[in-house]
């Protein structure tokens, strides 16, 4: 590994000593997709810690019955901000950011299709996030004091009208999300264009890494779903500021319309978050199983199918509204339908692992954890798609458990897996393996401790979004376990942060291709030079790097 390393040092040698301000300025004015990607992920992790603390505060309040650590109004703000932050300021930026970093490298391009638009999108996201959090000091709430938005992350209609939501905290919510939404849209457009138009020679659509395919579908979902959210938020803004009547039931407006619009965005949003995670897993599992991904064409087909079907399932969030049996049946059916392509993927991942020489390095650990947790979350999701079941459990802690299994156990574990996998590429240093494994086990155990009992709590009848609960209803123990689990998770996050700091300072040098992987991002140095590749790479198969390493047994013979 010596010779490429030396080259790397001589080639990517940074300017030796420069003032901190200069270096900062470099990052601010950059249009380099790699720097932007790193900034996305870093910002996402910061917000993850913030939102995690908000969640921890809620769990602390709920640790014992009749607790009064946090008053009800603050609790409302906490769950609103926790949900909003996790979805819009953690999930989206980290996933889009990693797409930003990896896609040009994976398709063998110099940069994104529109580098400056890319920077614009990133800064929109940051400033939108700041605007949202500015509400903590800037907004006026119920009694004229500073207050964060408190209408829940989906801001159901009558609750957001001026009557029920005084002050302008809701405006902050609308505007903050809207601005960062613009950013996401521009980034999505960029991702689509890059993966369609910037592919290197030989990289046909059916040779694109699965991750690129998934980000492509994500991009399409973002540009179809997010404008709907923006539109409905504009309507809400008109209602609140200009006295319009979109959601005003007294003037024959429709409160259910908001729900339709919101969930038309909201459900694709779930897949916007999950699909990139699928992408990470589809890249990592083959590498650590030493096998080609099983059923590549089927994976692509399943991804596209998920993309389409996810646009037609939104009303399964609304069974309890009273849509009528026909609509309920339709949406229940489409929800069952979407579990088919998802199931295909799970089987393909397992098919990839079977018979492979599996190495359980930390990225692989996270990915297997992802598959297990996601299957659990998916199963409870299918259970919730059964209409009578949903009537019983809608808005209970069962739902909370379900989507945390999908989003935390699913998406977040995959994100951590992805970070552990690509960190060496981005910084040229290995992450500490032992700390990585500790991170995984702390997170995994803590996560199950926290959210597993929520299933039981939900079935026992504990509703969501309550700031406390009475004793002696059989809920005490479960809530306590759940709150204790948070501590274990915190340990996991601490491990991770410590690991990153430690590895950045004195991590083992990674070399260009530490995992012996096969996609193009490993075909350049780590970290890659600003121009990514010295020569335009040529993709000869789905695993271009395999072909280079094994000219005697190239992949294209088998495709």
């Amino acid at each position: 590994m010596t010779s490429p390393n030396q080259h790397q040092q001589s080639a990517a040698k940074p300017e030796p000593t420069r003032a901190l301000a200069d270096r900062l300025c470099d990052w601010v004015v950059t249009v380099d997709h790699k720097k932007l990607g790193i900034m996305y992920v870093a910002a996402g992790i910061i917000f993850f810690v913030v939102a995690g603390l908000e969640g921890a505060a809620m769990r602390a309040q709920l640790a014992k019955p009749g607790n009064d650590l946090i008053d009800p109004a603050t609790f409302n703000q906490l769950f609103t901000m926790h949900g909003t932050t996790m979805v819009f300021l953690v999930g989206m930026p980290i996933l889009l950011g990693m797409g930003n970093y990896l896609i040009p490298l994976m398709v063998g391009a110099r940069d994104m299709a529109f580098p400056r638009l890319n920077a614009f999108g990133f800064w929109l996201f940051i400033f939108g996030a700041v605007l949202l959090y500015f509400s903590y000091i800037g907004a006026t709430g119920l009694y004229g004091t500073a207050a964060a938005p408190d209408v829940g992350w989906f801001a159901y209609a009558p609750l957001t009208s001026r009557t029920f939501s005084r002050g302008n905290a809701t405006e902050y919510w609308v505007l903050g999300i809207m601005v960062s939404g613009f950013g996401s849209i521009t980034t999505a457009i960029n991702l689509i264009t890059t993966s369609l138009c910037m592919r290197c020679p030989g990289m046909t659509l059916m040779r694109m890494p699965l991750m690129v395919w998934m980000m492509l579908v994500v991009g399409v979902l973002v540009i179809t779903a997010l404008p709907v959210l923006t539109a409905s938020q504009v309507m809400l803004l008109f209602d609140r500021q200009l006295g319009a009547h979109f959601f005003d039931t007294e003037a024959a407006g429709s409160a259910v319309l908001w729900q339709h619009l919101f969930w038309f965005f909201g459900h694709p949003e779930v897949y916007i978050l999950v699909l990139p995670a699928f992408g990470f897993v589809s890249e990592i599992i083959p590498v650590f199983s030493r096998k080609v991904i099983f059923g590549y064409p089927l994976m692509v087909a399943a991804t596209v199918a998920i993309g389409f079907i996810s646009l037609g399932v939104w009303a399964h969030h609304m069974f309890a509204v009273g849509l009528g049996p026909e609509l309920n049946a339709f949406f229940a059916a489409s929800t069952f339908l979407i579990s088919v392509p998802t199931g295909i993927k799970v089987f393909n991942w397992m098919g990839t692992m079977v018979g492979g020489r599996i190495r359980f390095d930390s990225p692989m650990l996270f990915c297997t954890g992802f598959v297990a947790m996601f299957v659990l979350g998916g199963l409870t999701g299918v259970m919730l798609a059964v209409v009578p079941f949903d009537w019983q459990l809608s808005d209970s802690y069962f739902v909370v458990a379900h989507f945390h299994y999908v989003l935390f156990g699913g998406v977040l574990l995959a994100i951590f897996g992805g970070i552990h996998f690509w960190f060496p590429k981005a910084f040229g240093k290995m992450l500490n393996e032992r700390l990585g494994k500790a991170t995984f086990w702390f997170l995994f155990i803590g996560f199950n401790l926290t959210f597993g009992p929520m299933h039981v709590m939900g079935i026992l009848g504990m509703p969501r979004r309550v700031y406390t609960f009475p004793p002696d209803r059989g809920l005490d123990l479960w809530n306590l376990i759940s709150s204790l689990g948070v501590l274990v998770q915190c340990a996991g996050v601490l491990c991770f942060v410590w690991n990153v700091i430690l590895s950045l300072r004195k991590g083992k040098p990674a070399g260009d291709d530490p995992w012996d992987a096969w996609t193009l991002e490993w075909a350049t140095t780590s970290p890659p030079p600003e121009w990514n590749f010295d020569r335009i790479p040529v993709a000869t198969s789905r695993r271009p790097l395999w072909d280079q390493k094994h000219p005697e047994d190239p992949d294209w013979k088998y495709e």
Binding site: M1, H7, S10, G355, K557, Y558
Partner: protein, 271 residues
């Protein structure tokens, strides 16, 4: 990009020149919106900053994209040697499973298993409730809400619509599970009968036991779990046995493209 001679020409080392335009444009836009919740002055500042940002931005790409030419340093060789990597494992490629059961076996196995399952279920109806229609009607209750409210006397009678419904569900599920067996059995370690015949039915019975109350309350009212388990076992055993005794054929995934397309004669005989 010049795609004609990409091999000869070194990669164009131009990267877009960094610019603060986008950042200011974004800041301006945000301030513009922030002005709505604070004061109009903020919006005015926002518009100004936004326009400034746009001008800076456009100056970098109009009339021509300004590109920062990097010095052509030494070439970085692509990491070619797999042996250099500490974790590299040389070895033949795997596409597993190499052999699978034909789908036909799955379908027929599912059908046969379904018949034996139905036989056991009807036997239960006869022995415990002296009606072979009861289990059938109960199955229909999975999708038809009318069944849920029906009395036992109703459930013991023949109802054509429910019979058809139950038959459809049963047929679909049997074939579906049979296919799953055909696909999954070769993946499972060694003993197909053990896995397909015992473990899976027990597993399914367990899941059904815990969720039946919400999915099909009518069924839960009447169900006898030993019999339910027995009927699952009957299906699993028969279907698993049938599938595993069918001849295996090489999996398509291990074929080259030509063979898959049918250009060459496939090795697996009929499929």
């Amino acid at each position: 990009m010049n795609e004609v001679h990409q091999h000869e020409v070194p990669y164009l080392r131009g990267v877009p020149r960094p610019t603060s335009g986008p950042m200011f444009a974004a800041l301006g836009l945000t301030l513009l919106f922030a002005g709505m919740v604070t004061t109009i002055a903020v919006s005015v500042v926002g518009v100004t900053v936004f326009l400034l940002g746009l001008i800076v931005w456009w100056r970098t790409c109009l009339p021509e994209e300004s590109v920062h030419q990097l010095p052509a340093g030494c070439e970085i060789p692509l990491p070619l040697g797999a042996a250099a990597s500490a974790v590299a494992v040389a070895g033949p490629r795997h596409v597993l499973p190499l052999e699978v059961h034909p789908y036909r076996a799955g379908v027929s196995g599912g059908l046969i298993g379904g018949v034996s399952m139905a036989a056991v279920a009807c036997a239960w109806g006869l022995v415990e409730h002296s009606s072979i229609w009861l289990p059938i009607n109960l199955l229909a209750g999975t999708v038809s809400p009318a069944v849920v409210g029906a009395s036992e006397a109703d459930l013991s009678r023949l109802e054509i619509a429910w019979l058809m419904l139950a038959l459809m569900i049963h047929l679909f599920m049997s074939v579906f599970v049979g296919l799953l067996y055909a696909v999954c059995l070769p993946i499972m370690p060694r003993r197909p009968i053990l896995f397909g015949g015992v473990i899976t039915p027990v597993f399914i019975t367990g899941i059904a036991w815990s969720t039946m109350g919400v999915v099909n309350p009518a069924l839960e009212q009447f169900i006898s779990w030993p019999w339910f388990g027995a009927s699952q076992l009957a299906f699993g055993m028969v279907c698993g046995w049938w599938v595993s005794r069918s001849a295996r054929i090489p999996a398509m995934a291990s074929f080259g493209l030509g063979e898959r397309m049918g250009v060459e004669r496939s090795r697996g005989g009929d499929r």
